[in-house]
Amino acid sequence: MSEIPGDLKFLKSHEWARVEDNGTVTVGISDHAQGLLGDLVYVELPQVGDSVDAGSACAVVESVKAASDVYSPVSGEIVAVNAALSDKPETINEDAFGEGWIFVVKASDLGELEELLDPDAYAELIEGEE
């Protein structure tokens, strides 16, 4: 298990969110989640320009084992997607909190992030699962 970066916030469904300097929100799935899923073989990305609601499914990650929805932690507009994942979905297995980011949202209300778990609360959550 890799260290959980301190600047991330988490959904209980294992997505992470990071507020960038320009105010956009980068989203991925946690290292714990990629471990549960196993080797990833396919990522279905949203389209740039899609509008998303907090808590709505907007991407899918598939491992050899199963498909899993990825929920947006915030409402807003998709402004970037990690197209490199189409050819190298295993990047998420290798670097879930870094190169394995999935999409970026221009949030309509950054206040929604207050609802998310901080790294300590998330670490506690996944400890309880094991």
Binding site: D39, Y42, V64, K65
Partner: protein
């Protein structure tokens, strides 16, 4: 509380991710399912399949009994040690289980069947065995390690006594020998050469370690599933069950119906043949990116069908599936989360001799 094989603690020490598999606490992988898959296709891997059911049979009429019980014909076993793959059918031709039966010697036979079907298999076999005065002995004290891959056999041979190693080297496909306290069968569920080794629970931890030391990679049930599907092998409960006949499950080749032998389920199979088998199992490959999964709807030009087993094929690098479709279907699309993606029917196995079939 789920059941455990004698290797449970070993799996945990190796860092396996454990899952409940039909009431058994089993390793799904030891890190990377795909790497384990490739190890079996390219070198040698092993699986703890001790959850499977071993049943020994004996009695003067055991051969007659098994010719009645099974849809394939044990009379095809011409020499002791030979193995036969068969379905065991109910009266309506549905599959109670698929299994391998070995002729051990004389009137003795051994069955290796699935784990999740243990209770109903034993009940069915015992019920019918009574008429033939055949004794049915479950062997829960036996463990099984499947060692599979192009180098699997030679790695095992290096661990055997000279005499047993010589016998194993000479062993034909789908046959078994006994030696060094092991029952060594040249069978498997991966499409690769190798052995399934039946041995006492008390010996299995030591043998597992010897195999690790000989360079055989521990592999979980996740890789076992992708390997068997690439090899075009059915999984009981998913690709066939008590509601489907072997004729609808790609298993017509396992039915011995040329003579008049009256096996259980035969009348129902004959009726289905006379009326026309309404559906069949086909191999599908997805043209686009995405992953075919169990239970997805298949839209065809002859009505809807369903994916019975689907996965990403690590060998082919694309998604493959078995699907049950209407008999006359010729074009296929699969509903993946509301999107209809084109699929192509292909011959199975999808993978042969470690390689994806040309054109897959």
């Amino acid at each position: 509380m789920s059941q455990q094989t004698p290797l449970n603690a070993v799996h945990r020490q190796l860092g396996a991710r454990m899952v409940d598999f039909g009431g058994w606490d089993m390793p799904i992988n030891y890190g990377s399912q795909i790497e384990e898959h490739h190890a079996v296709r390219r070198d040698a891997g092993m699986f703890d399949v001790s959850h499977m059911t071993v049943i020994d049979l004996d009695g003067d009429r055991s051969r007659d009994f098994l010719r009645h019980l099974f849809a394939n014909d044990v009379a095809r076993l011409k020499t002791p040690g030979k193995a036969l793959y068969t379905c065991m059918l109910n009266e309506t031709g549905g599959v109670i289980d698929d299994l391998i039966v070995y002729w051990l010697a004389g009137t003795r036979y051994r069955i290796v069947s699935n784990a999740s079907t243990r209770d109903k298999d034993l009940a069915w076999i015992r019920r019918h065995a009574a008429d033939y005065a055949v004794t049915v002995t479950e062997r829960p004290e036996m463990a099984i390690i499947a060692v599979q891959g192009p180098t699997a056999r030679e790695r095992v041979h290096g661990l055997l006594s000279t005499a047993t190693s010589q016998s194993a080297t000479a062993l034909a496909r789908f046959a078994a020998i006994e030696g060094d306290g092991l029952f060594i069968a040249r069978t498997g569920y991966t499409g690769e050469d190798g052995y399934e080794i039946v041995l006492p629970d008390s010996e299995v931890v030591a043998w597992w370690q010897k195999l690790v030391d000989a360079g055989v990679r521990p592999c979980g049930l996740g890789a076992r599933d992708t390997l068997r599907l690439e090899a075009g092998m059915n999984l009981y409960g998913q690709d066939m069950d008590e509601t489907t006949t072997p004729l609808e499950s790609g298993l017509a080749w396992t039915l011995a119906m040329k003579d008049e032998r009256a096996f259980l389920g035969r009348a129902a199979l004959q009726a289905q043949l006379d009326a026309g088998v309404p559906q069949r199992l086909v191999g599908l490959v997805l043209e686009d990116k995405g992953v075919l999964r169990h239970d997805q709807r298949v839209i065809t030009d002859a009505g809807d069908g369903v994916i019975t087993s689907g996965t990403f094929s690590p060998t082919a690098g694309k998604s493959i599936a078995l699907a049950r479709v209407p008999r006359d279907a010729t074009s296929f699309r699969v509903d993946i989360r509301g999107r209809e993606l084109p699929a192509r029917a292909v011959d199975i196995p999808f993978v042969r001799d470690g390689q994806a079939r040309p054109g897959l």
